[in-house]
């Protein structure tokens, strides 16, 4: 049996082979070759694509370059969503590598947040961590930490340092001995078929009778259309980090082991592939 700690490493070190191609209407001085990169599932696009930016800017004039943004099959990619979530939600049923198109003009103001610097990514990341702790611990754990601990979470993510990150993050995964889990589970459920970007609600990991709630319990409660009726055919895949956990898995366990570094469970509901 795999040790629970191994799960944490497998999640952290997950990678997606990606091919970046410059949008054909961008103005270049010479032909731009595609750029290949293994993207960390747990990070953010604008945090890990400096090399991509440099590669394409080499063949462009300064005046033709403004804020970089990415697109997959016509859909602008939200850099503030973790990479693994974007892939699972939009591209997991297609063949690898993930083909992303790079743009340097016509920033889609109505769809994407601006990302003028790394500070913006850090602020967004820490904002999510804080919100997760508000749900788990009424913000007690995150507020008790020093600024340097907050910084260590961010630096651990930025520099791909598993041990540095988890030295602090483990405190966010603890709960009082007398409880059986967190106060509420930080989660977001995403579906491309709905207008709403995601579903997020208050949901307790433990029932009043002390039983642990499962992934299936969560879906039944907040997203019943996603789960097939017992005798019916399976319509959707419920995916986290590229895998489909069993619906009987306790939600508390999922929250402790399969959360992203922002401490949220980002769950994709995608149509069952037909092949």
């Amino acid at each position: 049996m795999t040790d629970d700690k191994d799960v944490l490493r497998d999640v952290w070190f997950g990678r997606i082979p990606t091919c970046f191609t410059l949008y054909q209407d961008e103005i270049t001085e010479r032909e731009a070759e595609p750029y290949y990169l293994l993207l960390p599932r747990v990070s953010y696009l604008t945090l890990v694509t400096d090399k991509v930016k440099k590669h394409f800017q080499k063949v462009m004039r300064q005046e033709d370059i403004s804020e970089i943004w990415f697109e997959y099959e016509g859909t602008p990619l939200k850099w503030h969503y973790p990479i693994g979530l974007l892939f699972d939600l939009l591209a997991s049923s297609s063949a690898l590598p993930w083909n992303i198109t790079v743009h340097f003009k016509s920033f889609p103001e109505k769809d994407l947040l601006h990302c003028p610097s790394k500070d913006v990514i850090e602020a967004h990341f820490m904002s999510c961590v804080k919100e997760a702790d508000a749900l788990k611990h009424k913000s007690q754990v995150i507020n008790e930490m020093q600024k340097k601990d907050h910084k260590q979470l961010w630096m651990g993510l930025q520099n791909d340092r598993f041990d540095q990150f988890w030295a602090i993050n483990r405190k966010l995964m603890e709960y009082p001995a007398e409880e059986n889990g967190f106060r509420y589970i930080p989660f977001r459920i995403y579906q491309t078929t709905t207008e709403r970007p995601f579903i997020q609600k208050l949901f307790r990991p433990v029932a009043t009778d002390g039983q642990l709630h499962t992934l299936g319990d969560l879906l039944k409660e907040v997203c019943p259309s996603a789960v097939a009726p017992e005798d019916g055919e399976k319509k959707n895949q419920v995916m986290i980090h590229g895998i489909e956990p069993m619906l009987e898995t306790p939600l508390q366990w999922l929250s402790e082991h399969l959360s992203y570094p922002d401490n949220f469970l980002h769950i994709s509901i995608i149509p069952q592939p037909t092949d």
Partner: protein
């Protein structure tokens, strides 16, 4: 519903309903919107919007949403020029009055950032909600002490709104007293004399 909730979602809905009642009376444009999904039962996240076309060239749109994570209301807003092009964060900052700038620039949690609107999925500017409880608790404590009826939404919006260009007419404050039937206020008390004149 949770008994230990400071400001639960139902309470939020109640205060918003009272707020909207007054808004409809004075016609300043707030609306109550529900997000409904075709395949799901009606969702219980709500928004209230005001669309104001200023006499100058900037149009502001304000939404009040409920954050279940922090159990407080959150103010989302966006601004655009009349041609539809959006204002950038630095343009927004230029519109913030000096007296608010220092407070807002203080901590990363007390500032204006660009976020995704949780229902519309579009970029909006947001005042971070995590300090809301801190400044709202004294307001509510005092209202209990002096036995005054306070609409949480009205009080909260009157505090956070001005920093981002949203100023509530004073009549909202009087409306909160009216709900209680406070006979000190002239507007809520019809004197027999005026009926005779009719």
């Amino acid at each position: 519903m949770e008994e230990d909730e400071f400001f639960g979602e139902e309470t939020f809905q109640h205060y918003c309903a009272e707020f909207i009642k007054h808004s409809q009376k004075i016609g300043d444009g707030w609306e109550w919107r529900t997000s409904k999904e075709a395949l799901e039962p009606p969702l219980d996240d709500f928004e209230v919007t005001e669309t104001t076309t200023a006499t100058e060239v900037i149009k502001y749109e304000y939404h009040v949403l409920y954050s279940c994570s922090y159990q407080v209301p959150v103010l989302y807003f966006r601004a655009s020029f009349l041609d539809g092009s959006p204002l950038a964060l630095k343009d927004i900052w230029e519109g913030v009055h000096e007296c608010y700038k220092t407070r807002l620039l203080h901590g990363p949690w007390d500032t204006i950032t660009q976020q995704e609107h949780p229902i519309l999925g579009q970029p909006f500017f947001v005042l971070h909600p995590c300090k809301t409880n801190e400044f709202m608790t004294p307001v509510l404590k005092n209202s209990q002490k002096f036995n005054r009826n306070v609409n949480y939404i009205t009080s909260w919006l009157s505090m956070v709104g001005p920093a981002v260009g949203l100023n509530l007419p004073l009549s909202y404050a009087r409306a909160a007293f009216q709900d209680e039937g406070n006979v000190d206020r002239q507007d809520s008390f019809i004197e027999p004399k005026s009926l005779e004149e009719l």
